[in-house]
């Protein structure tokens, strides 16, 4: 990593950390039902929604009813997105005149956006009408993120409460998440992005003649360039903030209209981690001890930072096999150097490496460089960040409740080590809780490894592979790692728009989202019902450096141990062969 790269990383982290407390406190106020400066503006809209939808703001439900509400809402979202795609050819607002989307792809995309994965088996600018993008995808960008946040808030209440039978209302928290948090931040971010050159228009495409002579693959002259535009900034803002990641264009944030400058890049990068980081603080406020929140954030950063450095180092080192051809890969003030295949010059190595690590750490999945063309070690990091279970930042909401499950496992083993029935923030950890925690931990490796096994065993899976050797394996592994963790990024060389990947990936996304959310809610319900165990000298403090290190070890060991053989056959051996 270059010095400028190190400075860039440091500056980024400092800015991120500076936002944690104010945004975290604001969100805690919102979820606590306290007044904020936005209430005069948004309060009436919120009340209107409550009235129309028949929601009583002080109604509270137990975990089961909340889970049912969440499932119903997501099922409705799925139906809408699916139907919109299938019928977009007959609907208005389709300047590209795109026909209806085939069923397997429509299924995949609907699951993908409802589950906050935003895996895109399609090219945005060549498949989806503006109507589908706006009414289907953009709406789901908001509400799938808000679903994650609402489940998290219910989960936190489970930890904050004692001897309680309710967790709150999914509907109230869902609406708060959109109206008070996601929407205002999206408006600000989208305008910031427009100022940098991200397009925001309802026009279709603009055709402009080429300056130089251009011929296509068949040798025919191509006189002009058709430039796709659209209501991009508004979608980009929420896809970054909501850890959705589904871009307007095929190449996502590498596309100059989605991410035109280093400034827009930094803003979007910040937006990826903004809410997941601040939610840690919100958690601390809600459980009555902000140190608990900082501890979790610290654990995330302790894992995150070394991986950024590893990626940046690997990408900056470049690809040895080019050198023979007289290619200069040394970074200098005049050029970025390193492995530039699949990367944009304006971002260089550091912003690409940082983005790749952040987007896989958080389950965002947007990309500003092509992960498939990363060096083996760079690709390794992106895989590992997802395989840790999307708990290092993770998805908005879902990342933190995933991390809190790891906390419970860490507390459990640590509690044994200090000779006391484990307890976390006053809750005794009992068999039922471990059962739910185990379910949460269990399902992800099952999906990822099972899916990958299917992918490499079936011709339907193998035929989509586009890179030779171990990297071909990595492509399939990446696809199921991404869908099995609701990330959405890809080793995009894999031809993923096939019935096999659309269906298998769709199932992986479906299971990984809801299989995790429901046991998480069940766990919250169980925790909330417990009597408070007062802390004593014998209680293990969970906000110390020692506990943070232990948590990091648990996340790394539980996450990494499962995937070492797979990684050895993919990126690790590829690196050794380099």
């Amino acid at each position: 990593m270059t010095i400028a790269g190190a400075v860039q990383l440091t500056a980024f982290l400092l800015v991120l950390l500076a936002t944690v407390r104010p945004l975290g406190r604001y969100m805690a106020r919102v979820y606590g039902g306290e007044r904020t400066f936005l209430h005069p503006l948004i309060g009436p809209i919120e009340r209107l929604m409550h009235r129309f939808a028949g929601i009583r703001p002080d109604d509270e439900f137990g975990w089961k009813e909340n889970a049912i509400a969440m499932l119903i809402f997501n099922a409705l979202g799925f139906i809408v997105v699916y139907v919109l795609q299938r019928t977009q050819g007959m609907l208005p607002f389709d300047p590209g005149r795109f026909p209806g989307v085939p069923p397997d792809l429509a299924f995949n995309t609907a699951v993908s956006f409802v589950s906050n994965t935003n895996w895109q088996a399609y090219g945005g600018e060549t498949t989806m009408s503006h109507l589908t993008q706006m009414l289907g995808l953009t709406v789901q960008n908001f509400v799938s993120a808000a679903t994650g946040m609402a489940v998290l808030v219910l989960f936190i209440r489970g930890i904050a409460r004692h001897s309680a039978h309710t967790l709150g209302s999914f509907w109230v928290d869902l609406i708060r998440s959109v109206l008070y948090i996601l929407l205002p931040l999206s408006v600000i971010l989208s305008l910031g992005l427009v100022s940098q050159g991200v397009v925001q228009t309802f026009d279709g495409t603009r055709t402009i003649p080429f300056l130089d002579r251009v011929v296509d693959a068949g040798g025919a002259d191509v006189p002009s360039q058709a430039i796709a535009v659209g209501p991009v900034a508004s979608q980009i803002a929420i896809k970054q903030l909501g850890t959705n990641g589904g871009g307007f264009f095929n190449t996502n944030a590498a596309h100059p209209f989605e991410n035109p400058t280093p400034v827009s890049n930094s803003l979007e990068l910040l937006a990826i981690l903004l809410i997941p980081a601040a939610l840690c603080y919100t958690f601390g406020v809600m459980v009555g001890d902000t140190r608990e929140g900082w501890a979790i954030l610290a654990a995330m950063l302790v894992i995150f930072i070394p991986f950024v450095v590893l990626t940046a180092g690997a990408e900056q080192a470049g690809v040895p096999s080019y050198t023979g051809g007289g290619v200069g890969m040394q970074a200098s003030p005049g050029q970025p150097g390193g492995n530039m295949e699949g990367k944009e010059v304006r971002f260089g190595i550091m912003q690409s490496a940082l983005w790749a690590t952040a987007t896989t750490a958080a389950s965002n999945g947007s990309v500003n460089a092509m992960h498939d063309s990363f060096t083996p070690m760079g690709g390794f990091v992106t895989l590992v960040m997802m395989q840790l279970g999307e708990v290092v930042f993770g998805g908005v909401g879902s990342g933190l409740y995933g991390m809190l499950v790891f906390v419970i496992v860490a507390v459990f083993v640590a509690g044994l080590l200090v000779g006391r029935t484990p307890e976390y923030l006053g809750h005794k950890i009992e068999p039922y809780d471990m059962k739910m925690a185990s379910l949460l931990i269990l399902i992800m490796p099952l999906l990822v490894l099972g899916g990958t096994a299917l992918g490499v065993a079936l011709e339907a899976g193998r035929s989509s592979i586009t890179n030779p050797g171990p990297h071909g394996f990595s492509q399939v592994l990446y696809a199921f790692t991404s869908t099995g963790n609701n990330n959405g990024s890809a080793f995009a060389g894999l031809a993923a728009n096939t019935p096999f990947y659309n269906v298998a990936g769709g199932i992986a996304m479906l299971v990984s989202r809801y299989w995790l959310a429901i046991p998480a809610l069940a766990l919250a319900g169980s925790l909330a019902a417990k009597k408070r165990i007062p802390a004593s000298e014998g209680t293990l403090p969970t906000h110390t450096a020692l506990f943070v290190s232990w948590l990091v070890a648990i996340v790394l060991i539980v996450g990494a141990l499962n995937f070492i053989p797979a990684l050895a056959l993919g990126p690790l051996v590829e690196h050794l062969l380099l």
Partner: protein, 197 residues
Amino acid sequence: MVAKHTRTGLVVLVMFTVITGVIYPVMVTAVAQLTFSHEANGSIIIRDGTAVGSALIGQPFDSPGYFWSRPSATAPFPYNAAASGGSNLSSMNPALVERVHHAVARIRSADTTMHQPVPVDLVTASGSGLDPHISPDAARVQVPRIAREHGISSGLLYALVDHHTERPLFGFFGAPRVNVLLLNLDLDGLRQTGGTR
């Protein structure tokens, strides 16, 4: 219970569809069109009243008399701004290594006097296939060829490259870069004025 929540869910979804799916993008578009109309519409470059390109979307250049842009992996022709795409070739993929070596060979054959290493960005495809930039070094290595081609002094061309070089923000955010289309547009201008600028 299910019926009650289904009703609630339907209403909430419809209202959010209106708020986040219609009002939000329309409002952002309206404000964007009012405040940043140039940027919101694609940062189109107008020369003599006609649009000649977007300042953000690259164009392919491989005539000896232009600064070349980076290889592009879009199909069916390079820099297809209606279907962005990267090569997605892995580092170890022989196809990639061969393509890089081929690109290097082309650059060297277009300027046999060139001996320094070719900056990596000039022989690798960008992620979007639409990268408008090359690195300043990648522009500078092309100066002798272009100078020879048009009979313009290298000094002027180096100055032109410097003029178009965007530095990283605060010295470290992003990477140094040169917008190839803008550079070539100015190069065209320079040629018309006969190299005296």
